[in-house]
């Protein structure tokens, strides 16, 4: 998989199409695995999406005593395997981003798997496919690097300079799975 998930938080319009679409993915059992939150509703309507970072060295998998969380060859961190998951919920506490969800009825964890049934064929995950504002994108690593450079350039055109407080705006973080 050469593509990455690219998030641009401030583009998010809070429509939650990504969550509706997440339910649509095969094997997702009509349960969404991603998040959309308000920053502070009293102040503004700014929202942001949150997905699994598909960590290189995932805390969720590390803290799993049953070895239930598998990582694919492309580096996608999957939901716990049904037969192995013992429902201890360690992963939900271990993940620094609060990603894994827990199904109390089925007594098992479920999480964002980057729509592995799609992405393994290089088809965009459902959330990135539908996101009307391109806040979530599934793009080539090269395109992502270009986007980062372009943002900095746009800010310079606007006559802004990075400061200690907002330098992240100039070099946004990227998340996702990619191999070189």
């Amino acid at each position: 998989m050469k593509k990455v998930m690219y998030l641009e938080f401030e583009r998010c319009i809070g429509c939650r199409a990504c969550q509706a679409a997440c339910r649509e993915c095969g094997g997702h059992d009509m349960k969404e695995r991603n998040y959309v939150e308000y920053i502070d509703f009293t102040e503004s309507r700014q929202t942001f999406p949150m997905l699994c970072m598909q960590c290189k060295d995932p805390a969720c998998a590390k803290v799993c005593p049953a070895n239930a969380i598998q990582i694919t060859e492309e580096g996608v961190v999957l939901s716990a395997m049904e037969e192995k998951c013992i429902g201890c919920r360690n992963c939900t506490f271990g993940c620094p981003f609060g990603i894994p969800k827990f199904d109390f009825e089925e007594n098992k964890m479920y999480k964002c798997d980057m729509c592995y049934d799609r992405t393994k064929h290089e088809i965009a995950p459902m959330c990135a496919s539908v996101c009307p504002s391109d806040a979530i994108r599934f793009i080539d690593h090269e395109e992502m690097m270009e986007l980062r450079r372009k943002r900095t350039q746009m800010n310079l055109i606007e006559g802004k300079k990075p400061s200690e407080n907002d330098k992240w705006q100039y070099v946004p973080e990227f998340f996702g799975v990619y191999s070189d």
């Binding site: 319009i13 009293t42 309507r45 088809i123």
Partner: protein
């Protein structure tokens, strides 16, 4: 013809045992492209797949679109005709329901005359069906009383465009060009929630440095990303537009060559905007002088700009004036008829554009013809095979039909694809009107609030169970494909109209065996009119990713960009607007000190008949709420989540408070997608625009207290 349309090289996920059928979303005017997944064994609709190669929306969908398929095989669908017996609905056969309709319609017409019947249509249907509604009312029932829910949605835009540009096509440019625009001036449109898939084009343009100016009393998710947010008071758009034009003239931003060559009334406009100094404009609108000036400079300096607006400016008692004025802003800058620039309204309903063009309106005939024009009547009568003298005269607008009910003139109504019990203003009056009717028929696929008033409910099909065409917000005519057969005994709206026509002895005027046959007649009926569809065939739509009207002949490519050479007015020139300031019909008073405005949320569509039955959407937004500023809330000691009682001269309701600084301090906002005790339209003002007969949903005076 092909059921699954995809361009070479585009990958979609095919599931085992499923087929995909290419169509468009049933909800808003964006008409997002999608493939519906159908289980080949059971024939059931099971899901949705993005249509990445649809050039307007690129696979993007809002949550309504993603979940739209869930209404098709929904457990609450009406599957058999329902007849009300002793106040309860009882399932019946089609035979029995039609017998009852025939008996009542005929009795009522014998006793009270032809015009005692009426038809209330809607535009969340295909062109074929919308076209047929006008014909059904005028020929099958022989009544003059037909109108439709577009009066609550698009009629001010239509009226304003007609007056200014001579043709009402929602957008003068194709959507993908928006990417190359330098400045968007958006008024009264919460695009991010109501037409979310447009946002991708705005962001693409902004990535290249485009500017956005948004006029809205609320800091909506759209206004949040604007360079200038003009936080005007609801109902002051005409002052804002005049103020902007005052500055455009003063600062030398007028394209005089264009104006002299292509527009009338410049001196009248100049005189009218003279008094709208930034100070005066600021006083009326409540927007700061600095913001006004900044906005005028940004808009004036942009080489390519688009003025866009929606219900916020249109649903006012001066909606047509607002549209004329905002359109004039684009004209002063010489923008209409050029690449990546122009003027556009965001069509609210799926087929709000096509549905208003072809004779569902009280005074209109197919192809945007007029019923008071003898030549037009002659042409359409010829297509329909009737004597022109049998064409009923013009009727009255949607809300005014309820005046006719109260006056005892209309005795029966057939409501098709609409839910005015929720969506019409001043609900109590509407409900009372339904109760006064001697006989009422509703065609719908869920038991809507309106259907509950009916004597007979006929089970209609969803959009996925029939085929046809719609016209999206750009004016692009597109294909809706049939995904599966109707459930239960449901029938398509055109079959229902056909069956009733037969019972009324007019069957020979409705001889259709399938939808393409209706389409063929409809093409002909529109031929030579302003909205000319004659050259658009199903094959051409499929081949060219839709076709833009006007398209007068089969070898015509269609018209993506309007008004390149001349306008649709008799002299070919646009009419600039010269309009004085006028207050909204209701201003805050000591008794009703605040302004109430209404609108949509991203999770619901119109009266909510479908979206309130969709699980995901209800989880995200189960009930209406009142949005208010913390300062206003503090004044009444209301905290977030408290119940608030609101009252206007017409009605009252209690809803929970949602407190946010993203709204003017003197305004409160309530979304309108719920019925009965949760319907904000009990409170809204039915003051009508003199031309478009559009009610003033967007402004009324309200008092409130902690409940």
């Amino acid at each position: 013809m092909t059921q699954f349309v995809v361009k070479p090289g585009v990958k979609n996920l095919h599931h085992e045992g499923e087929k995909m059928i290419t169509t468009h979303c049933c909800y808003c005017g964006m008409q997002c492209g999608m493939h519906i997944r159908v289980n080949e064994r059971t024939g059931k609709v099971v899901g949705v797949e993005p249509r990445y190669d649809w050039p307007v929306t690129m696979g993007k969908m809002c949550p309504k679109g993603v979940t739209a398929y869930q209404t098709v095989d929904h457990p609450e669908r009406i599957t058999k005709p329902l007849i009300k017996k002793n106040g309860e609905f009882v399932e019946s056969s089609w035979e029995e329901a039609l017998d009852l309709i025939e008996k009542n319609f005929k009795e009522i017409q014998n006793k009270h005359g032809k015009n005692a019947l009426s038809v209330f249509g809607g535009v969340s249907m295909t062109n074929e069906k919308c076209y047929l509604v006008g014909k059904y009312a005028r020929i099958a029932l022989g009544t003059r009383y037909v109108d439709y829910n577009g009066r609550f949605c698009m009629s001010s835009a239509a009226g304003g465009f007609m007056k200014t540009l001579g043709i009402d096509r929602g957008s003068t440019l194709p959507w993908p060009e928006l990417e190359h625009t330098d400045c968007f001036f958006m008024a009264g449109s919460n695009t991010a929630e109501c037409h979310p898939t447009t946002i991708q084009w705005l962001w693409r343009a902004r990535d290249k440095g485009a500017k956005m100016i948004v006029a809205d009393p609320r800091e909506t998710p759209t206004a949040r990303i604007a360079d200038v947010h003009l936080d005007l008071k609801a109902g002051t758009d005409s002052a804002l537009a005049n103020g902007m034009m005052h500055l455009l003239i003063k600062e030398g931003y007028v394209d005089y060559e264009y104006v002299n060559e292509r527009c009338n009334n410049f001196s009248e406009l100049k005189e009218a905007v003279e008094e709208f100094t930034p100070e005066y404009t600021s006083k009326i609108t409540g927007v700061s002088i600095e913001k006004l000036i900044k906005a005028a400079h940004i808009f004036g300096r942009s080489p390519r700009s688009v003025v866009m607006f929606a219900r916020g400016v249109e649903q006012q008692s001066k909606g047509v004036d607002n549209v004329c004025l905002y359109t004039s802003m684009a004209l002063l800058r010489g923008q209409i008829g050029k690449f990546a620039s122009g003027v556009a309204t965001f069509t609210g309903q799926g087929n709000g554009q096509g549905g208003r063009e072809h004779g569902q309106k009280a005074d209109a005939l197919p192809g945007y013809r007029k019923i008071d024009n003898p030549d037009h009547v002659k042409y359409v009568s010829n297509v329909w095979g009737i004597d022109p003298s049998d064409m009923p005269e013009a009727g009255v607008s949607a809300y005014e039909m309820f005046d006719e009910i109260q006056a005892g003139k209309i005795k029966a109504m057939h409501v098709i694809c609409s839910n005015p019990a929720v969506s019409a203003p001043n609900n109590h009056y509407i409900w009372d009107g339904f109760n006064k009717l001697d006989f009422m028929v509703v065609s719908d696929f869920f038991l809507s609030e309106t259907a509950e008033f009916a004597d007979v409910v006929l089970p209609a099909t969803t959009w996925a169970e029939d085929e046809g065409t719609t016209t999206n917000l750009e004016g692009r005519v597109i294909r809706i494909r049939k995904v599966k057969d109707p459930i239960g005994e449901a029938k398509t709206d055109w079959e229902i109209m056909q069956l009733i026509a037969e019972r009324m002895g007019k069957g020979k005027f409705f001889p259709y065996k399938n939808v393409p046959e209706i389409y063929e007649e409809f093409r002909l009926a529109s031929k030579g009119g302003k909205a000319d569809y004659y050259g658009i065939t199903y094959e051409k739509i499929e081949k060219n990713d839709g076709v833009f009207w006007p398209c007068p002949s089969e070898d015509h490519p269609g018209t993506p960009t309007m008004f390149q050479e001349s306008f649709g007015t008799p002299d070919g020139r646009a009419n600039l607007a010269a309009v004085k300031w006028q207050e909204p019909a209701e201003e805050p008073t000591d008794e009703y000190p605040h302004t109430l405005t209404t609108g949509r949320v991203v999770f619901h569509y119109l009266s909510g008949t479908q979206t309130r039955r969709t699980q995901f959407l209800m989880e995200k937004c189960p009930e209406p709420y009142v949005e208010m500023h913390p300062n206003l809330a503090a004044y009444y000691a209301i905290s977030d989540g408290n119940n608030v009682y609101l009252e206007t001269k017409r009605g009252s309701m209690t809803v929970k408070a949602r407190i946010t600084k993203a709204i003017r301090q003197d305004h409160v906002f309530i979304p309108y997608h719920w019925g009965k005790e949760l319907s904000v339209n009990k409170l809204t003002n039915p003051a009508l625009d003199p031309t478009s007969r559009m009610p003033e949903f967007k402004v009324c005076a309200v008092k409130l207290m902690k409940a």
